[in-house]
Symmetry: C2
Amino acid sequence: MTLGSASARPTSSRFPSAHSLTVGGRLFLIDCGEGCQMQMARFKVPFPRLDNVCISHLHGDHVFGLFGLISTLDMVGRVAPLHIYAPEGMQKLLNVISDFFGAVKYELVVHTVKCKEPVLIQSFKSLDIYAFPLRHRVETYGYLFREREPQPNIVKEAIGEYNLTLEEIGTLKRKENIIRQGKEGEMIMLEYEKLTYKPFEARSFAYCSDTAPYPKLKEWLMGTDLIYHEATYASDLKALSKTTAHSTSKDAAELALAIGAKKLVIGHFSSRYRNLDLLLEEARGVFPETFLAQEGMIFDIPQNVSIKKKR
Amino acid sequence: MTLGSASARPTSSRFPSAHSLTVGGRLFLIDCGEGCQMQMARFKVPFPRLDNVCISHLHGDHVFGLFGLISTLDMVGRVAPLHIYAPEGMQKLLNVISDFFGAVKYELVVHTVKCKEPVLIQSFKSLDIYAFPLRHRVETYGYLFREREPQPNIVKEAIGEYNLTLEEIGTLKRKENIIRQGKEGEMIMLEYEKLTYKPFEARSFAYCSDTAPYPKLKEWLMGTDLIYHEATYASDLKALSKTTAHSTSKDAAELALAIGAKKLVIGHFSSRYRNLDLLLEEARGVFPETFLAQEGMIFDIPQNVSIKKKR
């Protein structure tokens, strides 16, 4: 969910960068601009469930909401550690804030991100999170959330047809073929590809803000389903986007097209745009499945469940 | 105008403490909780006109909006210095933030407030600002804005009737009597009290947050027209208000009554109150002219203009 779609200068309707992400009941926060906790309250994001915050870079419009959020979590009696993934400097910053405003009673675990290509920064049962470098004026990282490939399900009818043992079922689920000896001593191969199916497609989401266009992202994010990409300007301000190390909405759309994304969400809009139609239009000219990040809006990746009743 | 009426934990509708004040075209900010700049944008407070910010104390819910505001003012090209009045520590805090997020191009002038009784901290042509100590868990100050007593106006008809010279008019405006020699050598006294009138009543506003009830405020704020006072709790939580060094709405009302205020605005409400009727009711039981601080609400002190046409 978009909690903040503004670039550095907020407007009367747009808050600085902040997004929540829910995967399988887990709640993540990606960037935490000023007012993030108020937006979470406003849009009923169950923030005590938050365990992981990914910060792209240490610019105020991506960070200034963190201090208040950390303090509020303390006030509501949090005991579980809060994990914060961020470029170098975050630990020092949090130490300073804690010196001024007091330490919180739960643990803040800072994971310093430092990489030149995608690295796995956290793994959960069915989800991996990678950080990858972006190209901005300061050290900046994007985050890729990728569901793990699910274990294949056994085609129901095959169990009876072949009298599959529990051990054999395990073999097939590990994507290994079964070799049996037939009544006449012949070898029978039971192929896992024929007797199993993928219960659903693993989904992926990439977050890219702030960044100038960066060709390596095409390779790194190939096949990502949903991509959030900053689009601070329209194309007529291409020159300004270069000097500030930002992107136009067309840049964002070109990346989405190149990686074969299903959906692109653009955000981090310059305060000069009261109306965002131009940015949307330019992006849709390249990549039709583009949507505007707007406060409170939820962008869903439907879980593509396959139900295979018959072979 | 109230920009934030919450206590430490904001709610879906209440932002942390922040208030703007306009006196004779000058814009002041009193406390600057997280999201203050977004509230200013939302309620069209012309924030580039801001020159003076008064911070009561260094708790996050009164300060965390300052970093973003300072940065946004830089982005919109501010050149004039910004004056910040705050307890000790503010300069150091701003230095740290500037180390992390970069220095701004205009000057931040920090005035460290330290006093045990009211002191004048700033004077403008027609306005004096005083700081005075409050009683909280950390060093905390309230602020008193007091218009200067206006120079008296001359009753129009007196000019012709007594053929007042420019010099004599100056004398009367300085509140001095004129002594003339009559035709027969007798002394004639022209009394300024009879020949002048006060063009309007000087107004005053006091801001008291956060604080436990503090008897000295009665003396220091006597006769203040409008008072904002924190009212974190209702009376049933009096014990909690003591341990946290806060006030109940009844405490606030008792002070307003004791100083003969015209109007009391209560704020800094605990997040436990979804509905604020109880707090308002309890306060109005003591001081009927009590109002709830609510985001976007303007509390005016009408300028009581006297037009004296005839003596």
